[in-house]
Amino acid sequence: MKINGEDKGLIDALGSGDIRTCARIISRIERGDTEVVSLLQALYRAGGRSRVVGVTGPPGAGKSSLVSQLVKVWRKRGLKVAILAVDPSSPFSGGAVLGDRLRMAEHSCDDQVFIRSMASRGQLGGLTKAVGDALTVLDAMPWDIVVVETVGVGQNETDIIRHADVVALVQTPMGGDDIQAAKAGINEIGDIYVVNKGDHPDANRTCRQLRDMISLGQHLNPGDCSWVPPVIKTQSLLGQGADELADQIENRFRNLRENPEMARRRARERVRHRTAEIVRDMLDRRLHSEDGQAVEAMIDSVLVRERDPYALAAGLIAAMT
């Protein structure tokens, strides 16, 4: 693949860790600037080195504060860290108040830490479509760890496993009884389970329920026993448990290195998901493009029931190829 001169300059700037270049490219991605695609393609092909940690969990569980404590531990260990922190967009105005950075204030002036807030912009899986592209950009820079923090999630927003190598699921005590822990969805995706606000009297009970849920899963599906997800109790305001969490994240990365088959399976799933995301985006753009007279005419014909949405969908896909 041929790389044009402008892209070459940007790639070099990213490689040397230039924050401004990175920040501006992420803005172009968020704006949906299609001219950035050739750069992303070149970066992807040359990339694949970064280690991505996903942090997810319900709103107010302490994800951002916990990430801030983790960053503190990683910085002590000499690692350079980038963070993408996603918060929800309004379904009404499209606006957002992004408040994750606020919890990470102590790292604001550390030039080995990059923090970028992103709005979810209507995506429902806990992330935004721009996250995949932003990760490609960060991958081209000299970060030792990249963290993706999702919006506060409920029971079913599991997109993070399609972007992160290691997922930490942050819960709080008082999350419900053992049947809550047995439910499908978000409970299944943790490589590491964190019970934050560990000073709460019910914290130990929540840890026990999660351990029971995990060990039952291991009994029922004994296929892969090389990794038993640990359950860690933390107090993110005080930093308690952050060292242990950083250790376990490191352990999981080692475990994935030692099990290349599993790592490959996950990586394949990631490519599948990413591709689907791009296709969906291309179709969406076509469907919503303001100059698309043809599309408007097709919508009208569906409206009067001369055609149907299936025919419209087939027409859109045909027009793209």
Partner: protein
């Protein structure tokens, strides 16, 4: 289409100003007008706000001031200039006396919104003057 679409703003207090209510209300007003607001909260130094502006690549910075810490606002403007960020306007709101507002504007603050300013005024000003205004209106 909402006015604030595609515009990223920082809303912050500066220095030891702990009066967060005004800033939180403006953040909410901007959110409801379609802006994406990075809310930095209290106890932010000018350097922290500068770094946030660079990393988040914002189009405008709003400082809520209720503690007479005008020198730090001026210092923020100076830092932005030194770091080639003067295309990102700094606007202020809060209980800033008229003569100080005049002085701040003389030293590079883009606009000061005194108590009683309407949401529409603030939104209209940002849409017309934030970085990238020409790109968006094109």
């Amino acid at each position: 289409m909402l006015k604030g679409k595609g515009i990223k703003a920082i809303v912050s207090m500066i220095g030891l100003d702990g009066h967060t209510t005004g800033g939180e209300i403006v953040a909410r007003v901007l959110r409801d007008a379609g802006f994406e607001v990075i809310y930095l909260g209290a106890t932010q130094t000018p350097e922290m706000i500068l770094q946030a502006a660079i990393q988040e690549d914002v189009d405008v910075i709003g400082i809520s001031s209720h503690a007479s810490n005008y020198i730090q606002i001026e210092y923020l403007v100076e830092l932005l200039r030194k770091n080639e960020m003067s295309d990102v306007p700094v606007i202020c709101g809060g209980n800033i006396p008229k003569h100080v507002a005049k002085q701040l504007k003389g030293r590079g603050v883009a606009e000061v919104f005194p108590p009683g300013s309407s949401s529409a005024d603030i939104i209209g000003y940002i849409v017309a003057n934030a970085r990238g205004a020409q790109r968006r209106s094109a």
